[in-house]
C-alpha cells in the first residue's frame, strides 16, 4: 500500500451552513507516523471519520496508493483500522469478550481469532485484565484495550484519534512506545493529539489544521526549521484566543 492522498477534501454537515473541511489536501506516506494537529473544532475528528467511512458526502478525492480508498476498503474490508478517541467498546463485557466480538465482526474465527486476540492483548499488555469487565478498568487500561481492538486485523492504515487522552504519564509513555513500534512494515498511521510533545516525539510528518483548512504540512524538521518548537508554531498559526 502506498501513500494516502487527500486532494481538495471538503465537507459540511447536512443542515448546517459552515464548512467543516475546506479543500484539505494531504499526503500521508506509508511507513511513518503522520501527526494531525489542530485546536478543538478544527476538523480533525471529522477528517478521521471520513477516512474511516463513518461520514459520507465529502467532496474531493481520497486514494491509497493508486486506487481510491473506498475501492481498497471494498476489496480488502479490514485494511483500515480506527482507534477512536471515545472508549468505543462494551463496558459490560470483559476485555476478552470485547476483543473476541470485534474480531468476529471482522470475520476472524477459530484459531485465527484466538491467535489475534492473544497477540493484540500481548501488544497492549492487557493479558492480565482479559477476564475483567471493560467498564471497571482504569483509564490507562481502557486506552490500551481501545488500541488492542484497533489492531486485531493488523490494518495497513491505522487512524488514531487522540489515543492517549486522559491517561497518566506512565500509560502515555507505554502507548507512545507501542504506537512508534507499529510504524514501519509499510503501515500508514495518522495520529491526532493535543499534546505537542507527543507529536514531536513520535511523528515524522505533521499537519496543522484550523477551521477546516490546512495551515501547514510537511516533515516535522521542515515545519519547525526556524528553531521554534511545534507548540510555538501551533500557537502562532492558530492564535491564542480561547476556542468555544
Amino acid at each position: 500500500m502506498g501513500t494516502l492522498n487527500l486532494e481538495s477534501v471538503s465537507f459540511r454537515y447536512p443542515g448546517r451552513g459552515e464548512t467543516v473541511l475546506d479543500k484539505v489536501s494531504l499526503a500521508i506516506p506509508a511507513g511513518g507516523i503522520f501527526g494531525l494537529l489542530g485546536p478543538n473544532g478544527a476538523g480533525k475528528t471529522t477528517l478521521i471519520s471520513i477516512l474511516a467511512g463513518q461520514l459520507r458526502g465529502a467532496t474531493g478525492s481520497i486514494s491509497a496508493g493508486d486506487e481510491p480508498l473506498e475501492g481498497l476498503r471494498r476489496r480488502r474490508p479490514h485494511s483500515l483500522g480506527l482507534v477512536p478517541q471515545e472508549y468505543a467498546f462494551y463496558p459490560m463485557l470483559t476485555c476478552a469478550e470485547n476483543l473476541r466480538f470485534f474480531g468476529a465482526v471482522q470475520d476472524l474465527a477459530g484459531a485465527r481469532l484466538r491467535e489475534r486476540v492473544a497477540a493484540a492483548a500481548r501488544f497492549a499488555r492487557i493479558e492480565s485484565a482479559l477476564s475483567r469487565r471493560a467498564g471497571r478498568l482504569s483509564g490507562g487500561l481502557k486506552r490500551r484495550l481501545n488500541l488492542a481492538i484497533g489492531l486485531l486485523v493488523e490494518p495497513e492504515i491505522l487512524l488514531l484519534d487522540e489515543p492517549t487522552a486522559g491517561v497518566d504519564p506512565q500509560a502515555r509513555a507505554f502507548l507512545l512506545e507501542s504506537i512508534r513500534s507499529l510504524a514501519g512494515a509499510g503501515r500508514t498511521i495518522l495520529y491526532t493529539s493535543h499534546y505537542m510533545e507527543e507529536v514531536e516525539a513520535i511523528c515524522d510528518r505533521v499537519a496543522i489544521i484550523d477551521h477546516g483548512r490546512v495551515l501547514v504540512s510537511g516533515a516535522l524538521s521542515e515545519v519547525t526549521r526556524d528553531g521554534s518548537g511545534l507548540q510555538e508554531l501551533f500557537m502562532q498559526l492558530t492564535h491564542r484566543s480561547l476556542r468555544d
Binding site: L55, R56, E86, A88, Y90, L93, E97, A104, V105
Partner: protein
Amino acid sequence: MRRLLALWEKEWLALSRDVLGLAVLFLMPAAFIVVMSLALSDVFKGGAARLTGFAVMAADPKLAERLVRSLSGEGFRAAPAPADEAAARDGVRRGTPSLVLLVPRDFERALNAPLDGKSTPPKLTLLADPALPPTQLLAFRQRVLGVALALRVSAMMRRAGIAADADAFDLKHAATLNVETIGGAGRPSSVQQNTPAWLIFGMFFVVMPISSLFIVERREGTLARLVSLRVPFSMLLLGKVGPYFVVNLAQGALMLLAGRTLVPWFGGETLALPARWDLLAAVTACTSVAAIGWGLFVAVCSRTLEQATVIGGVGNILAAALGGIMVPRFVMPETMQKLSEVSPMAWALDGFHAVILRQGGAADIAAPCVKLLALALALFAAALWVHHRRRVLAPAQ
C-alpha cells in the same frame, strides 16, 4: 452469518449482565398477572361471585317470606328486614343491605285487580345502593318483576277457580335453561384476560433495554466503530433481534406458568391452556417481532436515554390503555372499542384470545399475525430510513 452470530452473542452477554433490566422484563408482567387476575376476578364474573344483600319490607309476613324465598339465591342473599322505611333508606345508604324492596300494604289487593287496562298495576319500590354494579341491579329488578308476575298469575288462576300456588309460576321453576358457550368461554375469565394482556405488555417493554444499549453504543462511539468496520447498519439492527426474540419467548413460557401456578396459588383461577401450542407459538413470535421493531425504532429515533425512556414508556402505556391491556375492551364504550383497534397490543391480544380463549384455528390468528408482522417490517424500515435521513453515519457497502 458469523458477524450476525457475534452481534447476537454480544447483545446476549450485555443483556444477561443487566440484572435489573431482566428483572423488569420478567417480574413486572408476572406481578401484574397475579395482582390484576385477583383484583379483577369479580369484574370478569359479572358480579356472580359477589353476594348482594337484600331485604324485603312487607306488612304481610307470609308475603314477605314468600318474596324472600323467591328472590334469594344466585348472587343474592336475604338480610333481616329494617325496622321501618327510614332505617331501610339509612341502611341502603351505607350499603347494608344493598337492596331493600318496599311492598305497599295494598299490594295483594292490587294483584287481584282485573287486567282490564283501567286498573293501576301494583306498585313496588326498590331502594338500591348507588355502588351496586348496574348489571346486578338489573338482574334483581328482573327477578322482582318475575316474582310479581308469578303472584299475579296465581291470583288470576284462583279467581278462575283453579288451585295454583305462586311458586308454580316462579321463573326459577319455569324451565331449566342450560347456557352453552361456543368455542370456550364467551368472555375471558380474569386470568385468561390478564395473563396474555400483561405478557404482551411485558414483551413490548423490551423497548427499554434495546434502546438503552443502542444509545450507549452510539454515545460511546461503538456504533461508529462498527460502521467503520463495514458492518451494515441493517445488520446492527438485526443483531438485536435474535436475543430479544429468545427473551420474549421465555417471557411467554414463564407468564403462562404464572397463570397456571402463581395465580391459583394466590387463590385465583387456573389459566386454561390452549389446544394448539403451534398457534400460540406463532402469535407469540409475531408479537415479539412487532415489539422488537418498536424497540429498534425508538432506539434509532431517540438521541438520549431520557428520550428513549419517555417515548418507549409512554408509548407502551398508551398502547396498553388503548389496546385492552389495562381495561378489557368489552367494558369500553363502542367508540373506544373502535379506537382500540389501532393499538398493536390489541392485535396481539386478539391473537392470544383466539388461541387461549376461543381455541381457534390458524384462520383466527391470521389477521392479528399479519398486522403484527406488517408493523414489525414497517418499524424496521422506518428505523433504517430515520438513520439514513440523519446522514450522520455512512452506510457500509
